[in-house]
Subunit: 326 residues, 4 copies
């Protein structure tokens, strides 16, 4: 493969606040370095169906503060087939796009990895997901904003009258990773977090009720990571009504509002840094790596490593929540 003269950029998977800041940074840094830039709409779908448009600097003006992604995202069944990916590659050739920058989570980078291997296309990934579940980077674009959104919600709940023996369950995202629930609980001063990492170890509700809530003199707030397995907050509310009828239970389900909102400073800054780094990486001849931040420095993480490994929950944080909810 020769010199890279033009790149395509797409966002894929669930949206995350800060994706627009990343799109802006990739676009402007590419232009600054003399490359042409193509915006690809609706993720891999637009690559297959040729929803591709050249981007100039002004296409990304005034978007850094917007939630969502101006490039949209979508699921794309076609891209999971060899035929679909071949079509995608044809469209890249048609537009003379030499490399791709993909902003997304686990599934999006997996798609990039397969595509890169099949067609020898240089791909750079940016970690864009509110779940913070990619290995090799301290943080992902969108996670900090989602955490603050959860915090706003729980702060408001705590404002309401602290009646005795009232129990609030707040369901947050994080089907497979408890970062949002655990850190949200610490930040909000909540009493407990029920997270997937411990779901097979212990009955977290029972543990909380027996050891935590009983000694409490006023309302308690428990953050629950959503879960198809357990049924999430609604399931726990039902359990409490049945097993501990003396408690008055209320449920809040935050749902998709956690994916939206103006990105925080942190998410915009890492998105900007990672966007600039993605172009730098391509110019250095890097390919098939995810841009990460480790110890506040830019790092390149091979796709395989970013995707394959589980990012563990730090036990220090579990201990912090435990000590401070007395």
């Amino acid at each position: 493969m020769g010199t890279i003269k033009s790149i395509g950029i797409l966002t894929s998977g669930g949206d995350a606040p800060g994706m627009n800041a990343a799109i802006r940074a990739v676009t402007r840094s590419a232009i600054y370095n003399g490359l042409k830039v193509y915006g690809i709409y609706r993720g891999y779908k637009g690559l297959v169906t040729d929803e591709i448009q050249e981007f100039k600097s002004q296409n990304v003006s005034n978007i850094i503060q917007m939630g969502g992604t101006i490039l949209k995202t979508a699921r794309c069944k076609e891209f999971t087939t060899p035929e679909g990916r071949a079509q995608a590659y044809e469209n890249m050739k048609k537009h003379e796009i030499d490399a791709l920058v993909i902003i997304g989570g686990d599934g999006s980078l997996t798609g990039a990895r397969i595509f890169a291997q099949e067609f020898d296309v240089p791909c750079i990934g940016l970690p864009g997901t509110i779940d913070n579940d990619l290995y090799g980077t301290d943080t992902t674009i969108g996670y900090d904003t989602a955490l603050n959104t959860i915090l706003d919600a729980v702060d408001k709940i705590r404002d309401t009258a602290t009646s005795h023996e009232r129990l609030f369950f707040v369901e947050v995202m994080g089907r497979d990773a408890g970062f949002l629930a655990l850190n949200g609980a610490i930040a909000a001063g909540a009493e407990a977090a029920i997270i997937p990492e411990f779901s097979t170890e212990v009955d977290q509700l029972e543990e909380f009720i027996e050891h935590g809530f009983r000694k409490s003199k006023s309302s308690s707030i428990v953050l629950v990571a959503e879960s198809e397995l357990t049924g999430g907050a609604m399931h726990y509310a039902e359990r409490v009504k049945n097993e501990y009828p003396q408690y008055d239970v209320r449920v809040t389900i935050l749902g998709h509002l956690q994916r939206g909102g103006r990105p925080t400073a942190h998410d915009r800054i890492i998105a900007s840094r990672m966007g600039v780094a993605s172009i730098q990486a391509l110019l250095e001849g890097q390919r098939n790596v995810m841009i990460g931040i480790d110890d506040d420095k830019i790092v390149y993480v091979p796709f395989a490593k970013a995707i394959k490994n589980d990012k563990p929950i730090d036990r220090e944080l579990v201990n912090v929540l435990h000590e401070l909810s007395i």
Copy 2:
């Protein structure tokens, strides 16, 4: 009854943002006018159980911006009995409290009305409820804040990728009054609101799906007033899954977070004005009236009138939502 020399103040019912601003205003205006002030904790409960404390100006310093109520609220079964109310009256006499200012909703003013009649105690009510369902006042303390809280949530939901045929139900408060759902939908640019006022008239979900959503090209957001009768957003989500399986449905339940949060400018200003007016009313010899705002002017509304009448939904607003969701 002689001159009023000291007053008691309490908050009752569900909390509403701005109650603290009202407590501050009542307290300071009373002191300014030479009266003693007693804070009564946990609503009528504290009046029965003598949780009463003298308030100075500094007791209400730095609370105007806080959600919730520093006086707490609670349900009080005792106050619904003649014995309980007699005990409450005894405590008033003990502290030489000549009059009461009650901040709360429908139920709280009903309690005040009965108590005032039985014991000839001058009572002034301030409308404190996020539901905006008191007659005789354009707005209630807390309503504007709750509306903005709902708006923040729906704005974030709209940020997320506008996939085709995705339907978001957002459940908001307002069991008996659709002000929050209807005005929230207008403010958020949502596609529809399902409100209790029309629940017997028409199948609002069917109407929306048939006439509204079908023509829509992207996601739709529907605000649903909570309802024990229908089951709220979860009920509608189930119905869509069964009757219109082609739509991808997501649910957000805001719950008690709508009762919290820093009060808006509007809520603090009306709380401050009403608080000052409540003392003015007492000094003028008024009793058993709720302070209202009508056409931006302070008015006195007899308890009976404020409680007994339903505040109607303005059809102009229904029309505005309808025209703008095309």
Copy 3:
């Protein structure tokens, strides 16, 4: 003049949050009622220079929550000349635009009034200004958002350590109208407001220092309406340093950030209602009126009346601030 078949819409003067909600409402209500809609860019300037584009419903999708105005605003010297206005009229005829909806303040409505008289063009005005200084309407689009922006700022200032004898001046907009400063001070629990309405009556700084601040035990916050005459907050800070050197003075100047930000529920709702009402008014044959809200009802205010009269400060509010800052 015959039936109105198409309208033009423009925003003019300083921007105000909620202008986009008004643009959306005017556009959609017009389309709903079978009219064609033209967006005119940069206020009257775009009418003169023919920056005019047809608007469909989707042109105003997803803008209700945005600050600023997608139509931009600009000053336009040409429109102050007969030649410029003649050119503007030519462009209207060229696009077959039958009527105009103008969103703006005092100056913008004055322009509309002259243009309407000269060329017999039906014009409807919407009050869009953060200053709330138009007569005949209880409130203007943008005022509530600006008030809450000021409130956020002052809340944060009050959080900082309450050292003794520290004096914060916060300069807010409102060169000719003290609504923002006075209501902002009430809402924020500030100690005083220095407003243009009283600038000739009394030395407001001296009055505050002599009667207010001296008895205070901690920091005081004073809101100052900007003023070219007095020099605003910087001027008062200088005065205090010279005349009362014992006080430690700090200055915040909010500036243009008061014109931006996501509009509040209130501003979006009145913008939506007024937008719908403007089309209704045109269809009813109204012309040369501003849409207002009086006692929560839509009213039509003749341009001359809206512009010519000063909206007075309510002395009740001055009293509320005075009583509560003890």
Copy 4:
């Protein structure tokens, strides 16, 4: 020195959001580990004047979300004298306080270091300052919140009409450290930052005007770190008026509002972690160290090292701002 049985906690210097979260964490972790806790009011001043009160777990309930510090801060001249510090030590002995946790910036830790050396008192520092200018820790308590406060302000300014050749100067804190200005500019998508680190290297205004603003087609926003040396934003506004009169210049001075506000998730989490770590450090026999976060892990930084070294600006960030403001 024997076992530590009780600790004192104080906040000192300028307040920073998250100080209350730190107070809560130190208090609860100490109690959890069997120690007595004393809250010391007004920083070192309260230690000298014996404003000391025992803290139970409920003293720190419901404060995690509050800006400012419930312990207040103050300057203390007495503590800079040997006599003052001897008095402080007497008060510690009187209350049987064995060790101190000090939350503050550069100056506060310098005071702790001297006191610890003179009286052999174990002191642990927590980095509490919005300026992020302590060495040995990636971040300080309050910095992330201040950065987001600046961002909110600049986002609002960018909303206003993008007239041609308008130049906004926004003055932010950071007399000696440009972290807030530089990272704020990146996050806000501003065009430039004028920071103290480069003030002797180059005329940053001239550089911006000559190479940046001239090519810009609309408004530009420049963040300026406050500076007594240069005069800050007002100085630059004057210079532009004189040297480049074709530009329309507007100034916002954020001032003390940057020190307030609800702390962000990040600031509450690091405050909570550092608070727990401070007790752990004392129990491990550590003394005279600041708790830091390095690569997301707790570290102990000797006072001398934290104070003496300047934390450098990362040139990568300067480059990111430069590339993205094209």
